[in-house]
Amino acid sequence: MKKILVIGGGVGGTLVSNYLADKLREEIKNDEVKITLISERDKQLYEPGLLYMIFNRMEESELFKEIKYLLDPMIDLRIERAIRVVPEENYVETEKEKHYYDFLVIATGSRVVPEEIPGLVESGHWFYNVDGARKLRDELARFEGGKIVVSIMGIPHKCPVAPIEVSFMLHDFFKLLGRRDKVEILYTYPINSVFLMQNVSSVVEQLFNERGIKYKTFFNPIEVDAKNKKVITLEGEEEDFDLLIAIPPHKGSQLVIDSGLGDKNGWIPTDRYTLKVKDYDNIYAVGDATDIPVSKAGSVAHFEAEVISENIAAQIKSLPPTARYFGKAMCFIEMGFDLATYIWFDYETPPKLVKPNKFIHWSKIAYNKMYWLTARGVL
């Protein structure tokens, strides 16, 4: 029997597993193939929902679903914490047992490490995990006025457009509350424009200007002075704040680091077309876990999962794996509470921004409800 092991119960892990179950249904029924998904959590978090949760536009309860309800029933789900991957011997060790595999998919995602910026944990807020989002939601509800700094403290980070979105949404949030004139919003970015892609940057800068959202570029925080509420940068600048919304530095999973599979930040060296982990023919990486120069975003994991499942299914059937990933990504960009656009791009095609409109915003709101169909491999 061929064993396929998937580590990680996020969007990449569940999608690869579900697509594989669909492609290998007969083989699984005949006990020729077994798919096992290992997840340390029994619930999946819809991470894009955190952006809405902080403005009380989605409930925390809407953001979670039990993984067992997202998976094809033919998939063997194990709620266990993986401790290390031993690729030379084709097994993954968890707290409970060793799982041997013929094919491995690493879908262990990324995580925020706010502790890497001294003073940030003590005095900053973020919305890139549930605990952070809860605290920020409460803080925003109580915020009567003052200076909010939205600061990107490292690249890469999950959902590259989220800091832009949160800035636009802060503007609308305080405008609706009648407090916008009492709130200063400053957005900071590490490179010399407000976003990685130039044609997106120019539109965002124009809309920031129209809304009175200030911005600073080449701004790389190295420390937060918690006592005096100041962000200090490598460039020698200081920026004071009343509320700091940080996008903390990100790293790959500790499992990847402990297994020696990643670079110094825990990103897995991955072939950008085949999605195979460098030097291994039977290990693939999907989603945020890779070192591929594409957005760390759910849509990327989605499109990569299609390629990986097709290639593993081919290898199981003794065919050459011919599917290739060409960097396809799609991101909605919320520009407030009733306006949005989206970008679609790949390795060769830069994004072309669609004129922001209400229809795209409502499409995103609808997708927030429909996401669970994506995780199931339906949409």
Binding site: I191, N192, F218, G236
Partner: protein
């Protein structure tokens, strides 16, 4: 001494990574380096040859030189402060 001949204390090989990868690698490296150290960034992305010198000037470090090789650029920087 010409930029080509300078021996760097730290080499950051960011070839194969795209903008802003090489700049962000330099930012991380310079953060931890001692003052006075010379850092050389290797980048295959043409925009690094423009972006990195701009950042170096803004951050108050020293740009020793930008050298174009066959398929990549060497950007040599000295940590000043």
């Amino acid at each position: 001494m010409k930029a080509e001949e300078i021996k760097a204390d730290i080499v950051v090989d960011a070839r194969g990574s795209f903008c802003p990868g090489p700049l962000m690698e330099l930012v991380k490296t310079i953060k931890d380096a001692e003052v006075g150290k010379v850092i050389e960034v290797l980048s295959s992305d043409a925009s690094s040859a423009k972006d990195i010198p701009e950042w170096v000037e803004k951050a108050g470090h020293g740009l020793i030189g930008v050298v174009q090789e066959d398929s990549y650029w060497r950007i040599i920087v000295k940590k000043i402060k």
